[in-house]
Amino acid sequence: MTPLLRRGADVCRRLTRHKGALLGLLFLLVLLLATSLARWILPFDPLTQDFTATLQGPSAVHWFGTDELGRDILARVVFGARTSLITAAGAVTIAAVVGVPIGLVAGFFGGWRDTVLMRLVDVLLSLPGILFAMALIAVLGRSQSAALVAVGITGIPSFARITRAQVLSLRKRDFVTAVEALGGSAVYNMFTTVLPNSWSPILVQVVILSSVAILIEASLAFLGVGIPPPTPSWGEMLRTGKSYLYDAPTYAILPGVVLTLTILSLDTIGRALASVLADRHESAAAGDPAAGSPA
């Protein structure tokens, strides 16, 4: 086994010992399986309307009941998971791909590059995330890609700041200055010595930001500026369900349960991961003086 795989396996093993994280992982696994097998395991299509059976409560046929157009709510919740997970994955990718290099360059070079880049990050932080996303959607119009880009951009500052902080703490370490002294170029140094030693906090941020992205996407949909219907989205379902609180209260309850469990799962896994990685660093540093150096 390569050292990277062994390290990954070790982190996974420690993570599953954490009870909350294990439950979270199981829930996400079930959700992933359900969305990927939805076409085969679900008896109903999320878009098929049935006006003879609108706003029904949960029953043996429709486990989560039906909506105002007679569509099966369970099917819509399962397909809504796909919307949420795709948005989260896309948004976090955008945030990391833009934010990590910003933090890397700002922290590695310092000076005017640091000032300019971090002031730009401050501009992104000058509005609460959801408002920034709303402003972008006001410009781009409502679509899946607009929601994805808007949520992604709100995540850039956290990646930039975390990477920069990590790089600053590594910048003066011997193994980095050694590469410099040996004549390694700055780009080579950044990507082969600094970045590989910065993965832990970035990884934690990926997990935590996924839960934030899902929450923002759902909030945008709830406000009516997210992904346009008829694509099933949890936020949109809650928005419509809110109009039928007297006729079908479960309509506004059940999609919220799944949304909340997803957010809680990711948040718990993220925090468990942070403590596992911190423990690993401490125990590795204590046991093996060379453990902190690059592999």
């Binding site: 959801i130 929450l215 609180l245 919220g256």
Partner: protein, 315 residues
């Protein structure tokens, strides 16, 4: 101290300039003709021409920017396309409602969050600490709009104690009606911030409890109540003040979702209405206003923190 404040303000200027230029440029980034998008598909060419002229979109770009900048600095945010009122008037009308909700939510957040933090920090790792940490995780994980819906279902639909839609009644005009209207939205938002308050204050308390002065206080025989109340709390509350301040800053625009759940007539709802009707001058005005207030409150919190903590280095 004054030098520190001036330096912080100077640092803010480029941020404000870039951000406001971005807000100004919004209208040019709209795909297609923004005026046609605003006035709707059935508008006559005359109307489109009139609105274009009224917005000054027929002039060269640099002239447009200069005129926008000078007008905005004088407090002239232009006119709303939808109801032709000055944008600033529309914004100012909504401020009392948003402030009342923000303050009420902060109060609920403190009432729920501070006891949770203190109790769990006293016995870290105990069963009570674990239960209360679970509460904070739940408070932060439950989307505010869903919590709002659940509260409406319970207190308005089932029990019929409170209204399901909350209007704005000033606390000074009719305290009882104001309370009835604000309880549900303030609780919804307050539960969320209580999670942030609890997590932050707990960490801050735990940090202080490890300090040398706590050992000294204990070893000289001070009762635990005084150690916590007189020494630890005072030091832990210092950084906590900044968090409370920052939360209030986000409330200026961050009550959008809660306002939507309860159809509460605050600033956030004005922005949502502006976006759904594509009223660009109003959208730009709202976002610019929220941006400036948010940045200024952040600055005030920094300055306040430097002022109350003599250890802060202004250099």
């Amino acid at each position: 101290m004054i030098g520190y404040i001036l330096r912080r303000i100077l640092q803010l200027l480029p941020v404000l300039l870039i951000a406001s230029t971005g807000i100004w440029a919004m209208i040019y980034a709209v795909p297609g003709n923004p005026v046609a998008t605003m006035v709707g598909e059935n508008a006559t060419p005359e109307l489109v021409a009139e609105v274009t002229a009224r917005l000054g979109l027929d002039k060269p770009v640099h002239e447009q920017y200069w005129s926008w900048l000078t007008h905005t600095l004088q407090g002239d945010f232009g006119f709303s396309i939808q109801n032709r009122e000055p944008v600033l008037d529309l914004i100012v009308q909504r401020i009392p409602a948003t402030i009342q909700l923000g303050l009420a939510a902060t109060l609920v957040g403190l009432l729920l969050g501070v006891p949770v933090a203190v109790v769990s920090a006293l016995k870290p790792g105990g069963w009570l600490d674990r239960v209360l940490s679970g509460w904070s995780a739940l408070a932060l994980g439950v989307p505010t709009f869903w919590l709002g819906i659940l509260l409406i279902l319970l207190f308005a639909v089932n029990l019929r104690w409170l209204p399901s839609a909350s209007g704005y009644v000033s606390i000074f005009d009719s305290p009882w009606q104001a309370l009835r209207n604000i309880v549900l939205p303030a609780t919804t938002l307050g539960v969320y911030v209580s999670g942030i308050f609890a997590r932050f204050l707990r960490a801050s308390l735990l940090g202080e409890l490890k300090a040398d002065y706590v050992r000294t206080a204990r070893s000289k025989g001070l009762p635990e109540r005084d150690v916590i109340g007189r020494h630890v709390m005072r030091n832990a509350l210092l950084p906590f003040v900044t968090i409370v301040g920052l939360m209030m800053a986000t409330f200026i625009g961050g009550t959008v979702v809660t306002e939507a759940v309860f159809t509460y007539p605050g600033l956030g709802r004005l922005l949502i209405q502006a976006i759904s009707t594509r009223d660009y001058p109003l959208i730009q005005g709202c976002i610019l206003f929220i941006l400036v207030v948010y940045v200024l409150i952040n600055l005030a919190v920094d300055v306040l923190y430097a002022y109350i903590d003599p250890r802060i280095d202004y250099g």
